[in-house]
């Protein structure tokens, strides 16, 4: 079994959570890598949707933007952006939405808007984009983000995308019928919401990762599942496909 990085483990673990019959709303970066890795391994029929309007895209390289030419060229169809958000996302046709996070809290609320107060931020982040409605209207949300203490905070500075709010049945109370963030894939572990409280709980450690590391990298007193599993390391095939995909993409990004 070959050597691999925590980032590779993260993308492989996220890819494995996808099913062949999923319809995914894909973000750029790690989510796109995970979705295309799944498509090129165990989920050949998975449907990938990018918010630029491309439905059923099958890129051979990882797009740098959500509107790269290859997405449209390989898509089953391309629709206008207002239609994408109205008929396809809000219409409830997406099974899995991927989100990345600058900050995520113990109830999987996500901040990609500001660090500090909204009116006078110390760091102005890009903002919501498609994320707030991905969090509301996809059947399930997978969060994929490196496990660093500055990202895993007790309470986000700004709720860009609603996870479980203050926990419990908060989603239902505000009228959301979807499942929300059922899985958080980090560079070091997998977290899932507690069935009752909805607090994020570590359910699997990636190979070689200790509880102490997770505790040190998490900004709240993190809980671990009673039956804590160990993630199966990336297979040679998973690593080969992922690295090929990223190599092709890197060369693409260099060329004009």
């Amino acid at each position: 079994m070959s050597d691999y990085t925590p980032a590779e483990m993260m993308m492989v673990a996220a890819a494995r959570a996808l099913r062949n019959d999923d319809v995914c709303f894909v973000g750029i970066g790690a989510p796109s890598a995970a979705c295309n890795l799944a498509r090129l391994t165990h989920a050949p029929d998975i449907v990938l949707i990018y918010e630029s309007g491309t439905i059923g895209a099958r890129p051979q390289t990882l797009p740098l933007s959500i509107g790269d030419p290859e997405l449209c060229e390989t898509a089953l169809t391309t629709v206008p952006v207002p239609e994408m958000f109205a008929y396809w996302l809000q219409g409830g046709r997406i099974t899995v939405g991927f989100l990345a996070a600058a900050q995520i809290d113990r109830f999987a609320n996500i901040n990609t808007t500001v660090v500090g107060p909204y009116a006078a931020p110390t760091v102005r982040l890009p903002g919501g984009g498609g994320a707030p409605e991905i969090a509301s209207f996809c059947q399930r949300v997978f969060v994929i983000t490196p496990h660093e203490r500055r990202a895993f905070v007790p309470r986000v500075d700004f709720i860009t995308s609603f996870g479980f709010g203050e926990g419990g049945d908060h989603r239902r109370r505000i009228g959301l019928e979807t499942e929300g963030p059922v899985l958080v894939v980090t560079s070091h572990c997998l977290m899932r919401p507690d069935p009752e409280t909805k607090e994020l709980t570590v359910t699997a450690l990636h190979p070689g990762v200790t509880r102490a590391e997770i505790i040190a990298r998490t900004g709240w007193p993190v809980r671990f599942a009673d039956r804590l599993e160990e993630t199966v390391p990336p297979t040679a095939e998973e690593l080969a496909v992922l690295r090929e995909l990223q190599a092709r993409s890197a060369s693409g990004a260099r060329s004009a």
């Binding site: 309007g53 207002p82 707030p132």
Partner: protein, 280 residues
Amino acid sequence: MTSPVAARRAQLLSLSEAIAAHVHDGDTVALEGFTHLIPFAAGHEIIRQGRRDLTLVRMTPDLIYDQLIGMGCARKLIFSWGGNPGVGSLHRFRDAVEHGWPRPLEIEEHSHAGMAAAYAAGAAGLPCAILKGYAGTDLARVAPHVRTIECPFTGERLTAIPALRPDVTIIHAQRADRAGNVLLEGIIGVQKEAVLAARRAVVTVEELVDDLRPPSPNSVVLPSWTVDAVAVTPGGARPSYAHGYYGRDNAFYTAWDGIARERERFLAWMREHVGGRAWG
């Protein structure tokens, strides 16, 4: 007795004529194109003509608004995602919001779903759009332009967003015919809505043709009478791309992170490239 609508027909102008005629200081200006067909050349002409106090409208500000903001053209930004796609921050946008350089920037922030619906409402002549979005978000809390409305049939609480009605929308398209009809294809984004929502519309195109050759009866065509000016501007979307003409310059998008990080290097780059031609 003829209405202004009827009299309207696209004029064939040079890019500088089109910008001079249709973009004025203080205007609300939308340059649209969702990663594809971003009207960079038109944005650079606005910078060259020194427009000021603009309210800039764009779902994804992208590099072109980073440049307009960094050059001090804007007093306000209406947007829904302000990053460099796949690369990181828009440093000039951040500098304006975080430090007020070169001038303070007022922001009106949306989600993509809300902003796309607001353009569609503008195109449809409605005062507002309704959607189910913004549930539980702090944006709904801090933004005065996000309100709730009740469905008169189910009692369900919905989100309302005011329609977007720019003074002028500028887009880049593949081609126009000699009558001024415009065709775009590929990722069509929100351009039709942005053009139909605006009081005036300017379109830069790769080429002028005798026949638009629409690939299907349903490709996106904007009739001449929905457009005020057409300016032939080959390469007008670079470093964005024009489906069927040239690819996206991903390397430049990556390089921009370094160019825009520091004020001095940014200004030097703009002087050198936008004073003259931006991309070879």
